[in-house]
């Protein structure tokens, strides 16, 4: 170290090697025993006037990469050039974050990454505003989170940096800098996506994707367009994008995810989606063609998507659904006829339905029979009363199917209370199913005020299609 008295300047040269032990910072803990860090630095500091300084340093942080920086300026205006090269993701995870990640989220236990990152940036402060420019590059990267059943086979990225703080100092006229991100072999549980390439343009805290992103998905395509993330440095960061879905093969998709093949196609135009403060909102609709009919989803929203408390919801309307085709795939007992209805105010929290109003009614259509099987009546009975019907006794046991003239069912889940009612009222009697002209079965709700807890509802759903031996519904 040298000190020059007339100029009041200190020049220094430091070489330091550290062997840290345990480190605790808030809830971050790591034992760095046996690992080394080192710093070689030289610089100058003026102790008079505007306290100008210069500093150049090379760092070795646990052999994770090559780091260097050069900084100069004074207490008001300064610039920093920082370079991080060949930063090994594997070493960063294993030496610094492995234990922290597994403690923070059980899904990140066993998380691993390969590949390298490089960063070349200049940060400078002038007249109270801080600017960041440069480029971040990621190569040969793969990530794997076995507990989340998530992996990406290959990630590469070239991202320009162009940020300003505070945001009010932004200049909208600045031309954007181009970059791109490329993902290959994305796997999440049973979902697999081959290749996604996202071109990006970054300008003054604003990220835009200039071309639509097209993701091939079950023989169809998902188009994401007009992606703009504004005010990236602010907690109020707003992400907007348009989303359309084109001809996704519902049969293949449901076979893959649900092990049940529901033949049909999914087409959707969600319009512009907005994501802000952990809430995703859609302005458009999704249309699913299935069982000769149409399902339309509207007012979709999702909150806290990354948390276990995630909340999703929306309204669904369906029409012209062919019951015969539907009940061939969904085991609720065979039925025939056409139904329409809605599932409104649907909200799911913590992976469980929190509220909904489901309304189903049959619609007469010429040439289509209206019949309901004993199994289906049994299941409706179980759901409504907790017990089975008396169809297995008397003369009715010889019939497997019964004609009906109308179905009208309303199910409501609200405040953890589930209620099933008929919407067909005649002479003060509430019917869920009205019999055919000559014969058939009336399903009557004898206790319209009856409500059961969500837990009981789940238990009854589990019992559906299983043998039950009790009589509660009234057969006329």
């Amino acid at each position: 170290m040298n000190y020059a008295i007339p100029e009041q300047k200190v020049a220094f040269n430091i070489v330091s090697i550290q062997q840290p032990g345990e480190l605790l910072w808030k809830d971050y803990y790591n034992n760095f025993k046996g690992q080394k860090t080192s710093i070689k630095a030289d610089g100058m500091l003026s102790l008079s006037g505007d306290a100008s300084f210069s500093l150049h340093a090379n760092l070795d942080i646990f052999q994770t990469g090559d780091y260097s920086f050069m900084m100069k300026g004074n207490k008001n205006d300064w610039s920093l050039k920082a370079v991080a090269a060949k930063v090994s993701h594997k070493n960063i995870i294993e030496k610094i974050f492995k234990e922290y990640l597994s403690n923070t989220s059980s899904g990140l236990k066993g998380f691993s990454a390969t590949g390298y990152s490089s960063l070349n940036t200049i940060i400078w402060r002038k007249n109270g505003t801080t600017y960041v420019t440069g480029q971040y590059t990621m190569t040969d990267t793969a990530i794997h989170a076995p507990d989340m059943q998530f992996s990406i086979g290959s990630i590469s990225a070239i991202l320009p940096l162009d940020f300003v703080h505070p945001s009010s100092a932004r200049q909208d006229s600045t031309a954007g800098l181009l970059g791109n991100i490329r993902f290959q072999n994305i796997q999440r549980k049973r979902l697999a996506i081959d290749t996604v390439r996202i071109p990006v343009m970054i300008a003054q805290n604003r990220l835009a994707v200039p071309e639509p992103v097209i993701i091939p998905f079950f023989l169809g395509k998902i188009h994401i367009y007009n992606i703009v993330a504004d005010d990236l440095l602010s907690p109020d960061m707003q992400l907007k994008f348009g989303l359309t879905i084109e001809n996704i093969n519902l049969g293949r998709m449901t076979k893959k995810f649900l092990d049940v093949e529901l033949p049909g196609a999914v087409n959707a135009d969600f319009g512009m989606m907005k994501y802000q403060q952990n809430r995703l909102l859609s302005e458009g609709t999704a249309k699913i063609n299935v069982f000769d009919g149409e399902i339309i989803a509207k007012n979709f929203f999702a909150e806290d998507i990354t948390k276990p408390s995630r909340k999703i919801g929306g309204d669904i309307f369906f029409q012209n659904i062919n019951l015969e085709k539907m009940t061939r795939k969904i085991p609720v007992g065979s039925m025939s006829g056409i139904i329409q209805g809605s599932l409104q105010a649907f909200v799911m929290e913590y992976g469980q339905p929190a509220s909904f109003v489901l309304e189903i009614e049959s619609v007469k259509k010429s040439g289509i029979e209206q019949e309901i099987s004993a199994d289906a009546i049994e299941n409706i009975s179980v759901l409504g009363t907790g017990a089975g019907s008396v169809l297995s006794r008397g003369v009715t046991k010889y019939f497997k199917n019964f004609p009906y003239s109308k179905i009208g069912i309303r199910c409501v889940l609200r405040n953890d209370q589930f209620r099933i009612n008929g919407t067909l009222m005649e002479d003060g009697t509430e019917y869920l199913i009205r019999r055919g002209f000559f014969r058939g079965v009336d399903v009557v709700n004898q206790n319209p005020e009856n409500a059961i807890s969500f837990r009981d509802m789940v238990e009854r759903l589990n019992r559906m299609s299983k043998p039950v031996n009790s009589e509660e519904i009234q057969i006329q």
């Binding site: 605790l24 809830d27 971050y28 403690n103 929290e349 913590y350 929190a354 405040n415 953890d416 807890s453």
Partner: protein
Amino acid sequence: MKKKLHLIIPLFVFVLVSCVTVNIYFPATAIQKAADQIVDDVRAQEQNGEQKKSEPKKDESSWLKNLPLISFGASEAYAAVDIEVSTPAIRGLKDSMKNRFLALQPFYGKGALGENNKGLVEVRNADSLSLKERADLNRLSQQENSDRNALYSEILRANKLNPDMMGQVQKLFANSWRGKSRQGWWIQQDNGQWMKK
């Protein structure tokens, strides 16, 4: 006329007082009962183990008996109202806290963690803990308080209670957490003083 006034004035005062005092707006008893139930559920492992031997089953929320359940004049009268404590959010939060309780238990035992008078956990004296244990304690207590705050908010939301009542809900839950704490655990009294139970 004077005689009539003598009759009318007390009657008027009686009617006025009656109108003001019967004011159903905060179901304290029901929430206290719900809080007891939730705390029992969360600490179910403890109750199944050896712990319950030393503690009386009745009057576990020792602060409950001090609540002004029925009073006259300007204070409130509480109605026996059923409180909704079984929504998906409440079930999810309860499960999350239940899973965490086993990990928190040793910290209560070592005096590093206590139950404060706002229905939250508070780090007390972590001197005897290793750095690794302190990191775990910081993380677990942060997660626990986040869940507890979410639980209290959800109880208000599910029962359509005013968000301003958060403080009252916290206080009632504090009664349960403290009342159902083991002997030797740190608890904060209503006056802010900490004591070993």
